[in-house]
């Protein structure tokens, strides 16, 4: 294989990996606040793309505004979902809450089909134009946008966690929710904000990818599996670990393609299982001794 082909596969891996990373971040944020895996995360991705298409093509809003509108609306939907479906059962067993999120994802997909139909819907690229060519490998403009979004998200989240009162409250909840509550932190608010933030990141990923793939009411579940796998690889810990998990998953997938594209998903999931056997806490999370 030539170097340019190898580079092209790496670019594809980093592109897909960045998408998985944004979803993994959503899983990680909600898990940190609630110990729940939110399987509706993929639907936030779908809704982001759908609402952007609707605002752009249906309401004729300029693209930038359509993107912003979609992300903000989905963040609101995430908060509302937490308020209506999660909070009433907040003391239930995490398994019950996980089932609620699975149900929620079915509801979101059905409502989207009802409102937007079952066809694939396209969205123009943020900055149309030919791909950049770098050492014989092509990088499409939209991929650069995806990378910019991931980088900005990681920086933003790091600042949020380390510099703001809200972020510190979120970290406190991550460490020990009960203790945080006793220290006077409004944990209910932290949980709602976490859902809104996760939904916004999912929507952002969906909006960034739709120009490349079009969107459809039923794409959420498929991408959620990838994002979940990336989150587990990263260890459901820091934002950086989630991003590393996503990029790694994307790269593993592309590494399999020259040998057999049929086995791409199988090998990626086998690696995930292997990680779970060897390092159940994920690749990028330090174990901490629990004090009794």
């Amino acid at each position: 294989m030539e170097a340019s082909e190898l580079l092209q596969l790496v670019i594809a891996g980093l592109k897909n990996g960045s998408i998985y990373a944004l979803l993994a971040l959503g899983f990680t944020i909600v898990y940190a606040a609630t110990n729940v895996i939110n399987f509706a995360q993929g639907e936030f991705y779908m809704l982001g793309g759908m609402l952007a298409v609707f605002a752009f093509s249906g309401l004729n809003v300029p693209l930038v505004a359509a993107v912003a509108l979609a992300v903000v609306t989905v963040a609101g939907i995430g908060a509302l979902f937490e308020r209506l479906a999660i909070r009433p059962r907040k003391d239930a067993d995490p398994m019950a809450l996980i089932i609620i999120t699975v149900g929620g994802s079915l509801v979101f997909a059905s409502v989207a089909r009802h409102l937007f139909g079952s066809d694939a819907l396209p969205l123009p690229e943020f900055t149309p134009g030919p791909s950049f060519v770098f050492a014989g490998a092509a990088i499409e403009r939209q991929t650069i946008w995806i990378w910019v979004i991931v980088t900005a998200t990681v920086i933003g989240l790091t600042l949020l966690y380390n510099r703001t009162r809200l972020g510190r409250a979120m970290r406190a909840c991550m460490e020990n929710r009960e203790a945080a509550r006793l220290m006077g932190i409004d944990t209910a608010r932290v949980v709602m904000v976490s859902f809104a933030l996760a939904a916004a990141l999912g929507a952002l990923a969906g909006v960034a990818v739709t120009p490349l793939t079009s969107t459809r009411f039923d794409i959420g579940a498929g991408i959620a599996v990838k994002g979940f796998a990336a989150a587990i690889l990263g260890g459901l810990g820091s934002p950086l670990a989630a991003v590393a998990g996503g990029l790694l998953l994307g790269l593993i997938e592309q590494a399999v393609i020259p040998f057999s594209s049929v086995l791409k998903d199988v090998v990626a999931l086998a690696v995930l299982l292997l990680v779970l056997f060897v390092r159940p806490q994920g690749l990028f999370r330090r174990t901490r001794k629990e004090k009794v």
Binding site: V107, S118, A120, S214, R216, Q254
Partner: protein, 402 residues
């Protein structure tokens, strides 16, 4: 308490929203609403036919126009007095593009509704999975899916309305050979339809003097095929041949444009729909595929029975649904329905399911929308290469290939 009430009513609203579309398609077709339009039809028992279609899930873009076509034609048949005085009722069930659902819905149609025949399913996997239940009941099945395996893995009960992959692969490979595009980069979707095409191309490419230099697969849920296309490019392909019918197929031309690949892209009849062209945008320009003549009815020959059937159907469809069918799948359902209806017309009262099967097999020269159907004891696809024409995407729409 008041708080809970508020939450419950919000949930109820969501439930209503969700169940409205499902309820609409999961129960019965519109045939029931127009039981006996003609005076003659009143009084006689209705003929009940079942249809299993993929109204939701990955193949919904195919299944929904199929349902539209059946609803439209059943209403028309009943308005004209039904079948020999019997009103026609078609009960439509949604298999959600899922094999297990297809089996469950088929069982329901057979056991609860006592249907005379089953139309469907939309997809190959479902159509194949349904046949066991259908064989037990001994009723005929008219599948709307396009894989060769449906009629090659021969069952006397199973008929098929789309051009089988064998026919289309043959015509397509001959086209590649004529243009001298001998090094084929193959990319297929990981579904029943894609696997069928993949196997056929692998087996028959050499007969046309072609070599498959790279054999790539993608999943319907994939968002990016640049990896697979990079490998195809590296293998020195002259052309990318794509066998796919799912929505993700539109990503392939986009990725090719992004990679700066200027070799042609040739597809299967699975992309014979406007949705593919709209999704792929400018990248779809120049994509070639072979399918039936319904996308350009003049190709039937103006005035031929197929031309009349197709144009009249397209007009009625557009009148009812606001726009003409944007793909070939509505036509496959039209053909499936009329193959059963025409056979029922020819039968006397008191026929058995096996009489109906025999009568469908006797179909000869039926001018359908997919082509002219002539079944025999060994051919349950019934069409020939004459029923296919080439199309190329030109200015954002499928146009006849010169």
């Amino acid at each position: 308490m008041r708080k809970r009430l508020w939450v419950m009513s919000a949930l109820a609203l969501v439930l209503v929203l969700v169940s409205a579309p499902l309820g609409g398609c999961a129960t019965t077709g519109d045939g029931e609403e127009a039981p006996d339009g003609g005076g003659e039809g009143a009084g006689k028992e209705p003929y009940v036919v079942g249809a299993v279609l993929s109204l939701t899930g990955a193949q919904s873009a195919l299944g929904v126009p199929e349902k539209n076509a059946i609803d439209l034609e059943v209403a028309r048949i009943n308005a004209e007095g039904g079948i020999n005085g019997h009103p026609l009722e078609v009960i439509i069930e949604d298999d959600a593009s899922d094999v297990d659902q297809a089996i469950a819905r088929t069982t329901k149609l057979i056991e609860q509704d006592n249907v005379l025949a089953i139309i469907g399913s939309t997809g190959t996997g479902q159509s194949m999975a349904m046949r066991e239940v259908i064989a037990e009941a001994g009723i005929p099945q008219v599948s709307l899916a396009g894989s060769l395996i449906i009629t090659q893995d021969f069952s006397p009960l199973v008929f098929q309305t789309p051009w089988s992959n064998a026919l289309v692969v043959d015509v397509t490979l001959e086209y590649l050979a004529d243009l001298g595009l001998t090094n084929v980069g193959l990319i297929t979707e990981d579904t029943g339809f894609g696997k069928d095409g993949r196997t056929l191309v692998a087996e028959t490419a050499a007969n046309h003097g072609l070599t498959v230099v790279s054999d790539q697969v993608f999943k319907p849920a994939d968002t990016d095929m640049t990896g697979q296309l990079t490998v195809i490019k590296g293998a020195g392909a002259d052309v990318v041949l794509m066998w796919s019918s799912v929505a993700a197929s539109s990503i392939v031309p986009k990725n090719m444009a992004q990679l700066g690949m200027d070799i042609p892209l040739v597809g299967s009849h699975g992309i014979a729909r406007q949705e593919f062209v709209d999704s792929a945008g400018a990248a779809a320009d120049g994509v070639v595929m072979f399918a039936g003549k319904v996308l350009a009815p003049d190709a039937y020959g103006v005035g031929t029975p197929s031309y009349e059937a197709a144009t009249s159907f397209i007009d009625r469809y557009a009148e009812t649904y606001g726009e003409p069918p944007s793909n070939t799948f509505a036509g496959h359902a039209y053909d499936g329905l009329y193959l059963v209806v025409e056979a029922l017309k020819r039968l006397d009262e008191g026929f058995t399911p096996s009489d109906l099967r025999d009568e469908i097999e006797r179909t000869s020269g039926f001018p359908g929308i997919g082509g002219v159907f002539t079944f025999s004891a060994t051919d349950h696809n019934g069409m020939s290469a004459d029923d296919l024409v080439g199309y190329r995407v030109t200015d954002g729409a499928w146009a006849l290939l010169e």
